[in-house]
């Protein structure tokens, strides 16, 4: 097998770079090269945008070609993409109009209200004592987040603050510690050559 196709080469690169960055971070030796390596990461990330364009184009071209369900929306997607792209580079007033009058209001409508409304309407049924407790927490926490809350009941807000400061923060502290341990495990596994997900292997 060609040396370029063997997995030892990318694994070696991955491990050497990672060990070097850790070494440099904790010893302060070779920080210039470490900085350069981090800059390569930025250069590679730049290509993510290009990969995104290729992927979305491929997905929608295939959808159009096969006339899959909802294919007319793919045409809309391409029109929006092309208009937006050319406006951004060649027609600034049009681009500003799209941002101010389409993108921002539509984003606000989507993010601020209607998706949440769907969740409340369809997903907030107290089917058990546990889901009832969650709904209670949601209710008092929601009241904490708006100016109407103190007018309804200051006592409820105390419960909401207690939920926020103790059970919820406690759970998330555990989650944060778990993530930290997970990252450490990942590093150890990668150094030992056991982590191969970046090669597309499980």
């Amino acid at each position: 097998m060609s040396i370029l196709r063997r997995r030892e080469l990318p694994m070696s690169l991955y491990i050497i770079v990672m060990v070097y960055l850790i070494f440099s971070n904790y010893t302060g030796i070779g920080t210039s090269l470490a900085g350069d390596i981090r800059s390569w990461g930025i250069a590679i990330a730049t290509f993510a945008g290009l990969i995104g364009v290729i992927n979305i184009s491929y997905l929608h071209i295939m959808k159009l070609y096969q006339k899959r369900e909802g294919w007319p929306y793919s045409i809309v997607m391409f029109i929006c993409f092309i208009v937006y792209f050319f406006a951004a580079y060649y027609y600034k007033p049009g681009y500003d109009w799209i941002i101010s009058n389409l993108s921002i209001p539509l984003g606000a409508a989507f993010l601020s209200g209607f998706n949440t409304l769907g969740v409340i309407f369809r997903g907030s049924k107290a089917r058990s004592i546990w889901s009832g407790l969650i709904l209670f927490s949601v209710t008092v926490t929601a009241l904490l987040m708006v100016s109407l809350g103190p007018l309804i009941s200051p006592g409820i807000l105390d419960i909401a603050r207690w939920i926020k400061d103790y059970p919820t923060t406690g759970v998330f502290r555990a989650v944060t510690i778990g993530i930290g341990i997970g990252i450490l495990m990942l590093v150890v596994r990668a150094i030992l050559g056991m982590e191969k997900s970046y090669l597309g292997e499980m």
Binding site: S39, A45, L151, T169
Partner: protein, 270 residues
């Protein structure tokens, strides 16, 4: 009540009522008083107490104009009062493409045009890579990017001569709406105060970092930002939305109660 409406009709009625309820404060302002949160005071004091000559790095990672951006704009306003007074200097960057789309609108809102670009403020533009970008900027910003957003070499911008790494900063602010872990890892605990602008739902995620002294202060959209605007004496988007948020939350709670009553009533009927 016995006959069940089609799901799409139910959804449409609920959405229509939502619009009506959100519109009520436009016709009848409720004028509910807004309280200033203790965390808001901490954030305000932190910015006020930055020593003169300090450089502030503002890392934008999200564009939700009517939600997170209202908080970003409010924080920018307080910082810019001191930038205009010649006390602070501002460097802005983004790690994702979203904020770039609305950045010109933000600059107009903040009237950045009347500041001396390159001396009082610099816009680095997009530095892709999320946490990798934060790590690179924290260690060596000139290695991470050689030109600003407008293509000017960083070496030609006087402000950038004083900013090489996180050690040269007086404050880092990150505007986001997701896990606070990356900025805490890359900017936190390095002797420079860190402020996070983050979604309301992420408060529990930020609290462990606040208690550990890694995040010095946070700002969330909605009520907290409305209190912040009140403190600044410069009312903005958050204040105008405060009443609408109250009515829509009240509606959501009524809706939640109603759906549960109907659900259990129908269950008992069966």
């Amino acid at each position: 009540m016995g006959k069940k409406l089609k799901q799409e009709y139910e959804d449409s009625i609920a959405a229509l009522l939502f619009i009506l309820v959100a519109s009520i404060p436009m016709a009848i302002p409720l004028g509910i008083p807004v309280e200033i949160d203790p965390m808001t005071m901490t954030l305000y004091d932190l910015i006020e107490e930055i020593p003169d000559g300090g450089i502030v790095l503002y890392d934008l990672t999200i564009l939700n104009w009517f939600t997170n951006f209202q908080s970003d704009i409010a924080i920018f306003k307080q910082i810019l009062v001191r930038v205009r007074a010649g006390e602070l200097y501002l460097v802005i960057m983004t790690e994702v493409t979203g904020p770039i789309m609305g950045i010109d609108k933000a600059w107009d809102t903040l009237k950045l045009g009347d500041l001396d670009y390159g001396t009082q403020w610099v816009y680095l533009g997009l530095i892709p890579g999320l946490e990798a970008a934060e790590a690179a900027v924290a260690s060596d910003v000139h290695a991470a990017k050689t030109t600003d957003h407008y293509g000017t070499p960083l070496s030609e911008l006087p402000l950038m001569e004083r900013f090489h790494s996180i050690d040269d900063l007086a404050l880092v602010v990150t505007g986001m709406n997701t896990s606070p872990d990356p900025p805490c890892r890359q900017f936190g605990g390095k002797g420079v105060p860190l402020i996070l602008q983050n979604g309301i739902s992420t408060i529990p995620l930020m609290m462990p970092y606040v208690e550990a002294g890694i995040i010095q202060a946070y700002m969330t959209p909605g009520l907290q930002t409305a209190g912040y605007e009140k403190l600044q004496g410069d009312l903005g988007l958050a204040t105008s939305f405060a009443d609408a948020q109250s009515t829509t939350v009240a509606y959501a709670l009524v809706l939640m109660l109603g759906t549960n009553l109907v659900y259990h009533w129908r269950k008992r009927q069966k």
